[in-house]
C-alpha cells in the first residue's frame, strides 16, 4: 500500500483557507514568542541578581579557616596563629580551570576620622592588583585612584566620603583595634572614593592595601582571613567548589571553601522561585491559546462535513479521519513554530546584545540583597525554548481532539442527503 494519504489531506487543508491558517498559527506563534521572551527576561533578572550579588564583593567562591563563618572573628585566620603561605594558597585556588582569578583578603573594624567628623568602618585589606579581577568593588571608582600597595592610602565609599566630608588627597586618622589587644592608629591619605549603589557598602567599607592593614592591626603578613575567587560562570562555582576543597587539602592547607550558593542561600531561593514561575507562565499562555485553536479547527472540520461523510460512506475507518484532523493540527504546529522561531530569534539576539535601559520607569533596587540596575536584560532560555515548542504542539493537538472526534462522528447518510 502506498503511504498513508492522511498526512497530505491534513496538510493540504491548511492551504485551503490561508487567512484562517495565518490567524490561528499566529496565535500559537505569539504564545511561543511571549513565553520565550518572558522567560528570557526572568532569567536575565536572576542572572543580574547573581552576578551583582556575588560580583560586587562576595566573589563566587570564598576560602576561610574552618569556623571563620558566621562570626568572622578577627583571630580566625587561615592556618591558625602561624598563618599560611599566602601566595601558595592563592595559587592553589587559582589553579582550578573554572577559577578566573583569586585574591587574599583581611578584614578589620574601626573608625575613620577627619578630625571634624568620624565614621565607623569595616576595613578590607586587599591586593590592589588582584582584587579588581575578582570583585567590582574597586572598579566602581568615582573619584581619585586605587590605594598603592605598601602606602598609607585608603579608598572609601561615597556615603562615607559624604559623612566625613573627605575628598581624594585629604588626610584621615584610622583607628582599629589590633589583635594583640592594642589600638592601632595611623595617618592615611584618601586615595579615592568608590560607589556601588548599595548604601551599606558605600557607607561602611574602606579599602586598604592588605600589607598596610595587617601592619595596622598587628597581624603578620602570613595571616589572612579569606581568599575570594571569581569563576567564569556563577553556576559552575558549585561544581568547582569540591575540586578546590580537595586541591587545598592536597596542598596541605587547613581551610574550607564555600560557594555563593551556601554564602547567599536567599539568591538560590529566588532563582528556584523564578523557575517555578516560568512553568506557570508557560501553562497559562498555552491554555489560553488552546481556545483560539480549538475554535478554528472546529470551524474547519464543520466546513468539511460533506467530505468526511463521503469518506465514511466509502468505508474509511473513523480513526483515519481523527488522524487526518490531528495531522492537520500538527502541520499547523509546524508552521506556527517556524513563524514563532523566526520572530523570536532575532528579537532575543537583539535584546541580548542591546538590553534597554528603563531608568525612566524605575530606579535601582535590590533583590535578595543584590543591587539591580534598571536595565531589562535577557538570557537565552534554551530549555524553555524547547519546552515551549513541545507545549505548542501539545496545545495544537489538544485543541484538535474534540473537532477530530466530531468529524469522525458525522452521520454519513444524513449529511450526504442534505438533512
Amino acid at each position: 500500500m502506498a503511504e498513508s494519504p492522511w498526512w497530505r489531506i491534513g496538510w493540504r487543508n491548511l492551504g485551503r483557507n490561508r487567512r484562517r491558517t495565518v490567524v490561528t498559527a499566529s496565535a500559537l506563534a505569539v504564545g511561543y514568542f511571549s513565553v520565550v521572551l518572558m522567560v528570557g527576561l526572568l532569567k536575565g533578572l536572576v542572572a543580574e541578581m547573581i552576578e551583582n550579588g556575588t560580583g560586587i564583593i562576595t566573589g563566587q567562591i570564598q576560602v576561610h579557616a574552618e569556623g571563620y563563618l558566621p562570626d568572622k572573628e578577627v583571630y580566625a585566620t587561615i592556618g591558625g596563629r602561624d598563618g599560611a603561605d599566602v601566595a601558595a594558597l592563592v595559587a592553589a585556588v587559582e589553579v582550578d580551570p573554572e577559577v578566573h582569578a583569586a585574591t587574599p583578603r583581611v578584614y578589620g573594624g574601626g573608625l575613620v576620622s577627619t578630625g571634624s567628623a568620624t565614621a565607623a568602618a569595616l576595613f578590607l585589606g586587599v591586593d590592589p592588583q588582584r582584587e579588581p579581577r575578582v570583585s567590582k568593588l574597586m572598579r566602581g571608582l568615582e573619584r581619585g585612584r586605587h590605594p598603592a600597595a605598601g602606602a598609607n592610602e585608603i579608598l572609601i565609599g561615597s556615603e562615607m566620603a559624604r559623612t566625613l566630608g573627605a575628598e581624594p588627597g585629604d588626610e584621615v586618622v584610622v583607628v582599629a583595634p589590633a589583635i594583640d589587644g592594642s589600638l592601632g592608629n595611623d595617618l592615611f591619605i584618601v586615595s579615592g572614593v568608590f560607589h556601588t549603589g548599595l548604601v551599606d557598602l558605600d557607607r561602611a567599607f574602606a579599602i586598604l592595601p592588605i600589607d598596610v592593614l595587617q601592619f595596622l592591626i598587628a597581624m603578620p603578613p602570613s595571616r589572612i582571613h579569606e581568599v575570594a575567587a571569581a569563576v567564569r560562570s556563577p553556576w559552575r562555582a558549585v561544581e568547582a567548589m569540591p575540586r578546590i576543597q580537595t586541591g587545598l587539602a592536597e596542598a596541605g592547607f587547613d581551610a574550607s571553601a564555600e560557594s555563593w550558593v551556601t554564602l547567599r542561600p536567599e539568591m538560590v531561593d529566588y532563582a528556584n522561585l523564578s523557575e517555578a514561575m516560568e512553568w506557570v507562565m508557560l501553562l497559562i499562555i498555552f491554555v489560553m491559546a488552546i481556545f483560539g485553536v480549538a475554535n478554528t479547527m472546529l470551524m474547519a472540520t464543520f466546513e468539511r462535513r460533506y467530505e468526511f461523510a463521503l469518506l465514511l460512506a466509502l468505508g474509511t475507518a473513523p480513526w483515519a479521519i481523527v488522524k487526518s484532523v490531528l495531522y492537520e493540527a500538527l502541520a499547523l504546529g509546524v508552521i506556527a513554530l517556524a513563524a514563532g522561531v523566526a520572530i523570536t530569534a532575532p528579537v532575543m539576539v537583539w535584546w541580548y546584545e542591546a538590553p534597554p535601559n528603563v531608568s525612566w520607569l524605575f530606579g535601582e533596587y535590590t533583590l535578595s540583597g543584590a543591587l539591580m540596575r534598571p536595565v531589562l536584560r535577557v538570557e537565552y532560555p534554551w530549555v524553555m525554548a524547547v519546552g515551549a515548542a513541545f507545549a505548542l504542539f501539545i496545545t495544537a493537538v489538544l485543541a484538535a481532539l474534540y473537532p477530530a472526534v466530531r468529524a469522525a462522528r458525522v452521520p454519513p447518510a444524513d449529511t450526504l442527503s442534505g438533512r
Binding site: V23, P70, D200, E266, N295, L361, E364, Y365, T366, S368
Partner: protein, 425 residues
C-alpha cells in the same frame, strides 16, 4: 416601524447566539483572560500592600518628618528641635489629616559603632520611644523576638539588637556593649548599654546593623536633649499617602522651611523601584494574555464574516450602507467580548474570594526569606480589592473588543454585492 439602529444590534446578537458553540469557545478565552487579570491584580496589590507595610514599619513610615539635610547626611547636626516638631504636629492634628493617621513615633538616629571585647561593628543606633515603637516597627513581636524582650518604658541603659550583630560581637542576653558615636559637638562619645533582647527580621542588613536604645538615653548621651531626627508616621492605608502628604506639606511650609515632609517613595526609592518593577511584570504578562485572546476573537469574528458573504450581500442589496454592515460585525465582536469579559470579571473575583480570601500561601516554594529592597516578603498574600482593578478590567475588555472587531468589520465592507448574490449555496 422598527428603526435601523434597532435592527443592527439585533442582527449581531442573533449571530452570537446562532453560533453558540463558537461563541462559547471564544468567550472562554476572554473569560479566562479577564479572570487572570483580576487574579494577578488582587494578589499583586495585596502583595504590594504587604511590602509597603513592612517596608514603612521598619523604615521611616508612610510619611516621615525630618530636617531636609538628614536623609543625605544622616548626621546629628541635621536634627529637629522640639519647637520645630510642634509646628508639624499641629498640621498632623488638623481635622482633614488626623483621621488618616494610624500612629506615629519619634526617633533619634545616628550612625555609630557597637563595640564588644572581640569586635566592633558599624551600626545604625536608633533612640526610640519604647511604647510607641513597639507598636510601630513591631520588632518585638513573637516571630521576630529570638530571646529576651523588647524595650519597655522606664528602660534606660538597655539595648535591643539583631541576631547577626549579637553573633558577630559574641554577646548574649545581659552582656554589655559600648556604643560609640559622634555627639552634638562633634566629639566621639561612648555609652555603655546592656542587651535585653535579640531579634531576627531575616534582612541581613537589619539583623547585623540595627540597635534600638531608649530615646532619652541617646538624647542625654549625645547631648541633644529633647531633639529627634525623624518622626515616622504610619497611615491607615498606603493609598492615602499622596492626599496626606499634600495637606501636611501645605501647612508645614507655611510654618517653617526647616522641616521636610517625605513620602515613603522619596524616603525609600529602592522599595518604590521594586514595586514598580513588579507592576511592570504584571502588565507585560497581562498584555501578552490579551494579545492571544484578541487573536482568538479576531479569528472567530473573521470566520463568521467570511462564511456570511451571501448574508452581507443580501443586507447590502436591501439597502444597508457599508458603514452599517461594518457596525453589525463590530457590534457582534463587542457583544461577545463584553459578555465573556463581564462573566470573567465575576469569575475572577469569585474565585479569588472563594480560594484565597484568607491568603495565598506560597511559603512552600521558599526555604529561607525572600528580601526585596530590604524588605522580607510575607509568604502569605491577602488579596486586595480595589475599584481601579475593575476599571482596568473593563478597559481591557473594551480595548480587546475594539482591536479584535475592527479588522473583521473592515473585511465585511469589502464584499462585492453582485458577486455575493450570484453565488448559489
Amino acid at each position: 416601524m422598527t428603526k435601523r439602529w434597532q435592527v443592527l444590534p439585533r442582527l449581531s446578537w442573533r449571530n452570537v447566539r446562532r453560533q453558540w458553540r463558537r461563541s462559547l469557545l471564544t468567550g472562554t478565552a476572554m473569560m479566562l483572560g479577564v479572570a487572570a487579570l483580576v487574579f494577578s491584580r488582587t494578589i499583586g496589590d495585596g502583595a504590594h500592600e504587604d511590602w509597603i507595610d513592612s517596608g514603612v514599619r521598619q523604615g521611616s513610615g508612610h510619611v516621615a518628618v525630618q530636617d531636609p539635610g538628614f536623609r543625605a547626611s544622616r548626621k546629628l547636626e541635621h536634627r529637629i528641635s522640639a519647637a520645630q516638631w510642634e509646628a508639624v504636629a499641629g498640621a498632623l492634628e488638623a481635622p482633614d489629616v488626623a483621621p488618616y493617621v494610624e500612629r506615629m513615633t519619634s526617633r533619634l538616629e545616628v550612625l555609630g559603632l557597637a563595640n564588644a571585647p572581640t569586635a566592633a561593628v558599624p551600626v545604625n543606633i536608633v533612640g526610640v520611644d519604647p511604647a510607641a515603637e513597639a507598636e510601630f516597627s513591631q520588632l518585638g513581636v513573637e516571630q521576630r523576638l529570638v530571646e529576651g524582650r523588647y524595650l519597655e518604658p522606664g528602660d534606660r541603659l538597655h539595648a535591643y539588637v539583631g541576631r547577626r550583630l549579637a553573633d558577630r560581637l559574641d554577646v548574649a542576653l545581659g552582656s554589655r556593649l559600648v556604643l560609640t558615636a559622634q555627639d552634638e559637638s562633634g566629639d566621639i562619645a561612648g555609652q555603655l548599654v546592656r542587651v535585653v533582647g535579640i531579634f531576627r527580621t531575616g534582612v541581613p542588613e537589619v539583623d547585623e546593623g540595627l540597635v534600638h536604645v531608649p530615646l532619652a538615653t541617646v538624647q542625654r548621651w549625645l547631648g541633644a536633649e529633647g531633639d529627634i531626627t525623624t518622626v515616622a508616621i504610619l497611615l491607615r492605608s498606603a493609598w492615602d499617602v499622596p492626599r496626606v502628604l499634600r495637606r501636611v506639606r501645605a501647612r508645614v511650609e507655611e510654618a517653617t522651611d526647616e522641616v521636610a515632609v517625605l513620602g515613603w517613595r522619596e524616603a525609600m526609592p529602592e522599595l518604590d523601584a521594586a514595586i514598580k518593577l513588579d507592576d511592570f511584570w504584571g502588565y507585560v504578562f497581562n498584555i501578552v494574555l490579551f494579545v492571544i485572546v484578541a487573536l482568538a476573537i479576531v479569528n472567530t469574528v473573521l470566520m463568521s464574516v467570511l462564511y456570511r458573504t451571501r448574508e452581507f450581500g443580501v443586507l447590502r442589496a436591501l439597502g444597508l450602507t457599508k458603514r452599517e454592515t461594518a457596525t453589525v460585525v463590530f457590534t457582534e465582536g463587542m457583544m461577545l467580548t463584553a459578555i465573556a469579559g463581564l462573566i470573567g470579571l465575576a469569575l475572577g473575583y469569585g474565585l479569588v474570594w472563594l480560594l484565597f480570601r484568607n491568603g495565598l500561601d506560597y511559603s512552600g516554594a521558599l526555604e529561607g526569606d525572600l528580601t526585596f529592597s530590604g524588605v522580607v516578603l510575607d509568604t502569605v498574600v491577602i488579596p486586595v480589592y480595589r475599584g481601579v482593578q475593575v476599571v482596568m478590567s473593563l478597559g481591557s475588555i473594551v480595548a480587546v473588543g475594539i482591536v479584535a472587531s475592527l479588522y473583521p468589520a473592515y473585511r465585511a465592507t469589502r464584499i462585492d454585492v453582485a458577486e455575493a448574490m450570484k453565488f448559489e449555496a
